[in-house]
C-alpha cells in the first residue's frame, strides 16, 4: 500500500487519498470473482483479474480527474488534487455501500491453518504474504527490465527530462496512476479473506500506508520498505508488551516520535523548500 502511494507520488507528484477505495474495489472484485466465477479453490486466478480490472479503472479515471491539474487551468494544484481524490474516496465508498450495504463478506479460503515453527498462522494470511512477495518481485523486474519501467523511474527523477527524451508524459502519468491503484487492489484482493470485504475496509491499510510514508520519508521507495518493517515490529511489540487493543495507536506514536527527532523521515532528504 505504501509502495503504491509512493509510486504515484514520486511520478505524478500527488498524494492519492483514494487509495483505500481502490483497495476496497480490489477486495470486492476478488469476492465477486471467487464466489461467482472461479470458486474458492481457484482464488489465485481471481487475484490477477481483480488487479487488472482496477488498473484499467485507475487508467480511465486519471485523464478525467487528475490530468486537468497539469493542463494549467487549475489554480491551486495541491488543493485540487487533495479535494478531488478525497471526493473520489467518498464517492467510491458510498457507491459500494449503496450497492452492497454495510455487510461484511468473505470470499472464503481453501487454505487451512499452517503451523510455522511455534506459531499457527492462518493459511490465507500466509498465502497473502507469499503472493505479495512474488508480486513485488515481478514489479521489481518490470521496473528494472522493461522500457516502460525505465521510463517510470526516469520520470520520478525528472519530469522535464523524460519529455526531452520524447516520452509522452500524459501516458506515463496515466500508467503510474493505474499501477499505483493496482498495487492497492492487490493488497485488497489478497487480504480479502483475512480482513473481510466491506465498504470502508481500505481505511486501516491506507492509514498504515501513510504512517509508513512519514516514517520512511515521502517519495522514497527504500524508505517505504524500511518504514513498513519498522511499523510492523513496533506494533507487534506493543501488542505483546503493552496491550493488544491499542495496536493501531503504537504506529501513530512511532510517527510522532519520528516527526520529533527526524521530521523528514528515515530516508527523506533534508530540503528547504524555495
Amino acid at each position: 500500500m505504501a509502495l503504491g502511494i509512493t509510486f504515484i507520488y514520486s511520478i505524478v507528484r500527488l498524494i492519492n487519498w483514494a487509495m483505500g477505495a481502490f483497495y476496497m474495489v480490489g477486495s470486492y472484485l476478488q469476492f465477486i470473482l471467487v464466489t461467482q466465477v472461479f470458486g474458492v479453490d481457484r482464488w489465485w486466478l481471481a487475484v490477477p483479474c481483480s488487479v487488472a480490472l482496477v488498473f484499467v479503472l485507475g487508467a480511465l479515471l486519471e485523464p478525467i480527474l487528475i490530468r486537468p491539474m497539469f493542463a494549467g487551468n487549475v489554480e491551486r494544484k495541491d488543493e485540487y488534487a487533495t479535494v478531488v481524490t478525497i471526493a473520489l474516496l467518498l464517492f467510491m465508498t458510498a457507491v459500494a455501500s449503496g450497492i452492497s450495504g454495510p455487510y461484511q463478506r468473505t470470499p472464503g479460503s481453501n487454505l487451512g491453518t499452517i503451523v510455522l515453527g511455534p506459531l499457527p498462522v492462518s493459511g490465507a494470511r500466509f498465502a497473502a504474504l507469499v503472493v505479495a512477495l512474488v508480486a513485488l518481485g515481478l514489479f521489481y523486474l518490470f521496473i528494472k527490465r522493461t522500457w516502460l519501467g525505465m521510463a517510470l523511474r526516469a520520470a520520478a527523477d525528472s519530469r522535464t527530462g523524460v519529455q526531452i527524451a520524447g516520452v509522452d508524459l500524459a501516458r506515463i502519468d496515466q500508467f503510474a496512476f493505474g499501477g499505483g491503484v493496482a498495487l492497492a487492489a492487490l493488497a485488497g484482493a489478497l487480504l480479502a479473506p483475512v480482513f473481510l470485504v466491506f465498504p470502508t475496509n481500505g481505511a486501516m491499510t491506507t492509514t498504515k500506508g501513510f504512517e509508513i510514508i512519514i516514517i520512511g520519508g515521502l517519495g522514497s521507495i527504500p524508505g517505504a520498505l524500511a518504514g513498513g518493517l519498522l511499523l510492523g515490529v513496533v506494533e507487534s511489540l506493543g501488542t505483546v508488551l503493552i496491550a493488544p487493543q491499542y495496536q493501531n495507536a503504537y504506529g501513530f506514536l512511532l510517527v510522532l516520535l519520528i516527526l520529533l527527532v527526524r521530521p523528514v523521515g528515515l530516508f527523506g532528504k533534508r530540503l528547504r523548500e524555495v
Binding site: 498524494i15 488543493e79 471526493a87 455501500s97 501513510f210
Partner: protein
C-alpha cells in the same frame, strides 16, 4: 458594521424559531449549526490558510469524549467537562501543530489522516474505557432531550464561530493567513513568521472544534466513535466547497444545503455521500468559488446567450 447588524438580526429571528417549528426541523437545524462550526474551523485552516487538515472531526471527538469521560468517571459538573474538553483539544492541536507544521504542507494532511484514523479506531478498541460502539452515555445538558434549548445553544455557537471567522478574515491576521496560502515563501520573506501563524490557527480551530464536539456530546447523550468517522470530514469539505472555499459565508451556504439534501436522501442509504462527492468533483473542475459563483457564471452565460 452593517454586516454585523444584519447577522445579529438573522440570529435573533432564528432564535424565535422553536416557538413555531416542529422538533424534527429543530433537530435538523441544530445539527446544521454543529456542522457550521466544524466547517468554519476547517475553512479557516484549509480555505484561508491553505493547511489541509483531515482531522477536524477528530478534534470534535476529542472534545466530546473528554467531557463525556470526565463527567462519566469523575462525576464533575458538565461545564467543567466542557472546559476540560476545550483545554484538551487545544493542547492536542498545539502539539500536533508544532510537530507537523514546520514541514511541507502535504505532511499536515498525511499526519492528520493518520491521527484521525488512529483516534477513530482506538476509540472503538478502548472498549473498557469508552464502551466502544455500544456508546458512552453522557448526561444531557438541559436535563431533557427536548430540542429547543439545544437549538439555541448551537445557534449561538454557530454565530460565534462565524463572527470569529469574519473578524479574523478582516483583520491583519486574516491577511497573513491568506498570504501564507497564496505564497508561503514570499510570506516568510515579507517578515511573517509563517510557522507561528500556522500553529496558532491550527490550535485555535482545534479548540473551536473541541468546544462544538463537547456540546454535541451533551446533546446526543449516547456517544459513539461514529463522531470521528471519516465521512464527517468528507461532509465538512463538501459543505465548504459547495459554499465557496475560503469565504466566510461558505459554511453558512454549504451546511444547510448539504444537511437538507442529506436528510431528504437519507432513506435511500448512503447514496447522498456519492452525490455530494460527485458535486464536489464537478465544482472543483469548474469553479472553486462554490455553488453561488457557479450559478452566477451560469446565469451570465445564459444572459449572454440570450442577447446574442
Amino acid at each position: 458594521m452593517k454586516t454585523v447588524a444584519l447577522g445579529a438580526a438573522a440570529v435573533l429571528l432564528l432564535a424565535t424559531l422553536p416557538g413555531v417549528a416542529n422538533p424534527s426541523l429543530l433537530h435538523l437545524l441544530t445539527i446544521t449549526f454543529y456542522y457550521v462550526v466544524l466547517a468554519t474551523s476547517w475553512n479557516l485552516l484549509a480555505g484561508m490558510t491553505g493547511q489541509f487538515s483531515l482531522a477536524t472531526q477528530t478534534f470534535a471527538a476529542i472534545g466530546a469524549y473528554t467531557t463525556g469521560l470526565t463527567v462519566y468517571y469523575l462525576h464533575v459538573p458538565i461545564w467543567a467537562g466542557i472546559l476540560a474538553a476545550v483545554a484538551v483539544s487545544l493542547l492536542c492541536g498545539f502539539v500536533l501543530g508544532v510537530l507537523v507544521l514546520r514541514m511541507r504542507t502535504i505532511y499536515l494532511a498525511i499526519a492528520t489522516w493518520a491521527f484521525a484514523e488512529t483516534v477513530h479506531i482506538s476509540l472503538g478498541a478502548a472498549y473498557n474505557l469508552t464502551r466502544g460502539e455500544l456508546g458512552l452515555s453522557v448526561p444531557p445538558l438541559f436535563g431533557s432531550l427536548e430540542p429547543a434549548p439545544y437549538f439555541e445553544v448551537f445557534l449561538i455557537l454557530a454565530a460565534l464561530a462565524t463572527l470569529t471567522a469574519w473578524s479574523i478574515a478582516r483583520s491583519p491576521l486574516g491577511s497573513f493567513m491568506r498570504a501564507i496560502k497564496d505564497d508561503e515563501l514570499r510570506a516568510e520573506s515579507v517578515g511573517i513568521d509563517t510557522v507561528r501563524v500556522k500553529i496558532f490557527v491550527f490550535t485555535l480551530t482545534s479548540g473551536m472544534t473541541g468546544l462544538a464536539g463537547a456540546f454535541y456530546a451533551h446533546y446526543v447523550a449516547i456517544l459513539s466513535p461514529n463522531i470521528a468517522d471519516f465521512s464527517v470530514i468528507g461532509t465538512i469539505i463538501t459543505m465548504v466547497i459547495v459554499g465557496g472555499i475560503g469565504t466566510v459565508a461558505a459554511p453558512l451556504i454549504g451546511a444547510p444545503i448539504v444537511e437538507t439534501l442529506g436528510a431528504l436522501l437519507s432513506r435511500y442509504g448512503e447514496w447522498d455521500l456519492a452525490i455530494f462527492a460527485a458535486i464536489v468533483i464537478v465544482l472543483m473542475r469548474t469553479s472553486t468559488g462554490g455553488i453561488v459563483e457557479a450559478g452566477r457564471r451560469l446565469l451570465s452565460r445564459l444572459r449572454q446567450a440570450q442577447t446574442t
